[in-house]
């Protein structure tokens, strides 16, 4: 049995150890304005492998272009930007690990967001726990903002639901005799695609467009033949696909194989990729397919032409091959620059406070968010016409009027 003195010493030792561990525990967010001068380190998780790999790489390019340009101008508040990337393999589990490592192991100054609403929500919660600002350009599903995270800012300029509503605006602007009478909604179980399609379904049903099919398929579905067979059997005038890339291609291929050609085909994601979409469905099969987006290389947005020139100069290729995701992530960097220019500081708390007020010009348009980081703007409608993604609505910025109905598959 221990003596009283020994027990007392043990308690003091235990309390001392606990205090020491606590002091070494949760790192406080770095206040860059007080930190020694050195590079401004930014941790970013990108989907270089997995389901989002096609667009994940585009996200990385946008960040890299921004960093190279800002460093050429002297950096942020005299500090050279140093980006650190990690592959999240399109996995919500891995993305959490990546941001945990960035913050607690690498002790980066800032973090930027990943690609997709699925990964953004998981990652933003990690950043919030440590008091880091989470500025992101590719996560705008409703679940992201429903989390009510105070640190999140979406460099939108529109939420997933509001962005897709431009399709509803267009369809309901048509004379009644030109509108579709029936609609089908095959959707991927995804926090971006499915809510966007569901919101359109609710709006169209209220306007009298009858729903003849509405189902959600799991992310691991490899063949959509059965889904499209059911859609085709209902003969809808319009198909609103809540899709991402690979399943979007599979939907189009299945429609062609089953010789099912709706008069109107809108897809939430897939057609906005100017390279992979025609490559995977066939360039001749893109005609008449609609999607919504925030950016295209020809969009009349201040700073856009300079962005396009800089992108082509750095990465080569044709402007028409630039994925809009690159512009969205570039806009994230522009917001950080705006904070530094406005406040003279670049710490996380300043970023959070500053970007939740006011509006900021970026290459994807004016960005203004509410208290939960949700952008307040809208998107434009694009259609594949003659092998080119073309802005067709709203009329104020349309390159040409929409071509309807969709032609039969060649």
């Amino acid at each position: 049995m221990l003596s009283t003195g020994t027990r007392l010493r043990s308690w003091i030792l235990a309390i001392g150890l606990c205090a020491g561990v606590a002091a070494c525990g949760t790192p406080a967010p770095t206040s860059s304005s007080n930190a020694p001068k050195g590079p401004l380190t930014i941790g970013i998780s990108v989907s270089l492998t997995g389901d989002f790999s096609n667009t994940g790489k585009a996200a990385q390019l946008g960040y890299q272009l921004w960093a190279s340009q800002v460093n050429a101008k002297g950096g942020i508040l005299g500090r050279q930007v140093q980006l650190t990337f990690a592959d999240d393999a399109s996995s919500p589990t891995q993305v959490v690990t990546n941001y945990q490592n960035f913050i607690s192991r690498d002790k980066v100054d800032l973090v930027f967001g990943p690609y997709s609403s699925l990964l953004t929500l998981a990652a933003a919660k990690v950043a919030n726990r440590y008091g880091y600002a989470f500025v992101e350009g590719a996560g705008n599903g409703p679940s992201v903002f429903a989390a009510h995270l105070p640190n999140l800012i979406d460099a939108g300029p529109a939420t997933a639901i509001n962005g897709a509503q431009v399709w509803g605006d267009y369809i309901l602007s048509l004379p009644a005799d030109q509108r579709p009478k029936t609609a089908a909604y095959p959707s991927l179980d995804d926090p971006f695609s499915q809510p966007a399609a569901a919101a359109l379904q609710a709006r169209f049903e209220a306007a009298g467009i009858k729903t003849v099919y509405s189902q959600t398929y799991p992310a691991e579905t490899t063949s959509l033949g059965g889904v499209i067979a059911k859609v085709a059997s209902a003969s809808p005038d319009m198909v609103v696909s809540g899709s991402q890339d690979a399943d979007g291609w599979a939907q189009v291929q299945a429609m062609i194989q089953q010789k099912f050609n709706p008069k109107f085909l809108f897809m939430t994601n897939g057609p906005e990729n100017p390279v992979d979409f025609p490559k995977n469905v066939g360039a001749q099969n893109t005609q008449g397919i609609f999607t919504s987006d925030v950016w295209t290389y020809g969009a009349p947005i201040p700073g856009n032409s300079a962005f396009v020139q800089a992108y082509v100069a750095k990465f080569g290729g044709d402007p028409s091959q630039i994925d809009s995701t690159s512009a969205q992530t570039y806009a994230v960097g522009q917001l950080i620059e705006a904070v530094a220019a406005k406040t003279g500081k670049i710490d996380n708390q300043t970023i959070i406070a500053t970007l939740h007020q006011g509006s900021y010009q970026t290459v994807v348009g004016i960005v203004s968010v509410d208290q939960y980081g949700a952008p307040k703007g809208s998107q434009f409608l694009e259609e594949w016409i003659g092998g080119k993604l073309t802005i067709v609505y709203p009329p104020s910025i349309a390159e040409q009027a929409p071509v309807i109905p969709k032609p039969t598959w060649p």
């Binding site: 997995g50 959600t216 799991p218 033949g225 059965g226 067979a229």
Partner: protein, 291 residues
């Protein structure tokens, strides 16, 4: 009724391809009593070979099988000789881990060579379909089904009408007895492993036609192939075919008639029932333990 029959057609066509993928897994288990976790990545290798030959040499994917099959045979034979053979007798249980390591390694090599973007093989007939009695028969799926059947028949003849086939069946039934009868069991196992990889290579070329893929696509595949094997019976070719058709049909029917969210459920419920009620599978045979 039209939708039901259309779904059945799609299910059967898909089932044929899955049967070919699984036949190699069955063959490997039958001769070596190991579960080859790399079977899925062998299929993906076949898809990348077809993708490369099509994009750079404009060789049709069905013709590329003439290249992918011997190439995957060589890869399988080599891997078995250097990685599996040393542990085959002494550390048999490690073979599951070893084949999984092979799968991860091959995935890494594919990622390094081809990158990680999703790929597809877009031939001129990719999206074509024949209309027969009002039903749409996708051309690629129909050709893949027919070719799969032809290769499976070829394998059946190989296993039943050739000396090599007799060796394989002898090793499957009782390795020790086969050895006593003069069969070089190690060589037979290596050739069988190579043959299993070769069938995966052939299936991979067709897989690349019906689905987009990336190096990580083998994770989805291997789960399905193992489930098919278990339901059909490990070591049974007839079981592999039956299990594949059951999987593909159930998914297609549920997807079309009910909800795609539930399409995998019936098959995996059947898997649980089979494991409980008939663990050797629908067509599997009872195996005797070692004396």
């Amino acid at each position: 009724m039209h939708l039901l029959i259309q779904a059945i057609i799609l299910g059967i066509l898909t089932g044929g391809l899955y049967a070919l993928m699984t036949s190699g897994l069955t063959l490997t288990f039958g001769t070596m009593r190991i579960i080859n976790m790399a079977q899925g990545v062998f299929v993906v290798c076949g898809a990348y070979i077809a993708f490369t030959l099509f994009n750079y040499l404009h060789i049709d994917p069905f013709l590329s099988i003439l290249v992918s099959t011997p190439l995957l045979f060589a890869i399988g034979f080599t891997l078995q000789t250097f990685l599996l053979k040393p542990i085959r007798h002494d550390a048999h249980r490690l073979s599951l881990l070893m084949t999984w390591a092979m799968a991860i390694g091959l995935e890494g090599i594919l990622s390094f060579i081809f990158g990680t973007d999703f790929r597809g093989i877009l031939t001129s007939y990719q999206n074509s379909s024949w209309t027969i009695a009002g039903y749409e028969i996708p051309v690629v799926r129909a050709l893949a089904f027919l070719l799969s059947v032809a290769i499976l028949v070829g394998m059946f003849l190989l296993l039943t009408r050739t000396k090599f086939g007799r060796s394989v069946r002898a090793v499957s039934q009782r390795e020790s007895a086969a050895k006593l009868l003069g069969v070089n069991t190690d060589r037979t196992a290596a050739l069988a492993f190579g043959l299993g990889a070769a069938t995966a290579g052939a299936a991979g070329a067709m897989f690349g036609l019906v689905s987009s893929f990336d190096p990580a696509s083998h994770y989805d595949l291997i789960g399905r192939l193992l489930a098919i094997c278990v339901i059909g019976g490990l070591g049974s070719n007839a079981g592999a075919i039956a299990g594949a058709v059951i999987l593909a049909l159930s998914e297609s029917l549920v997807q079309a008639e009910f909800s795609p969210a539930w399409s995998s459920v019936p098959f995996y419920v059947l898997l649980i029932i089979v494991l409980i009620a008939r663990p050797r599978g629908l067509f599997g045979v009872r195996t005797r333990g070692a004396i």
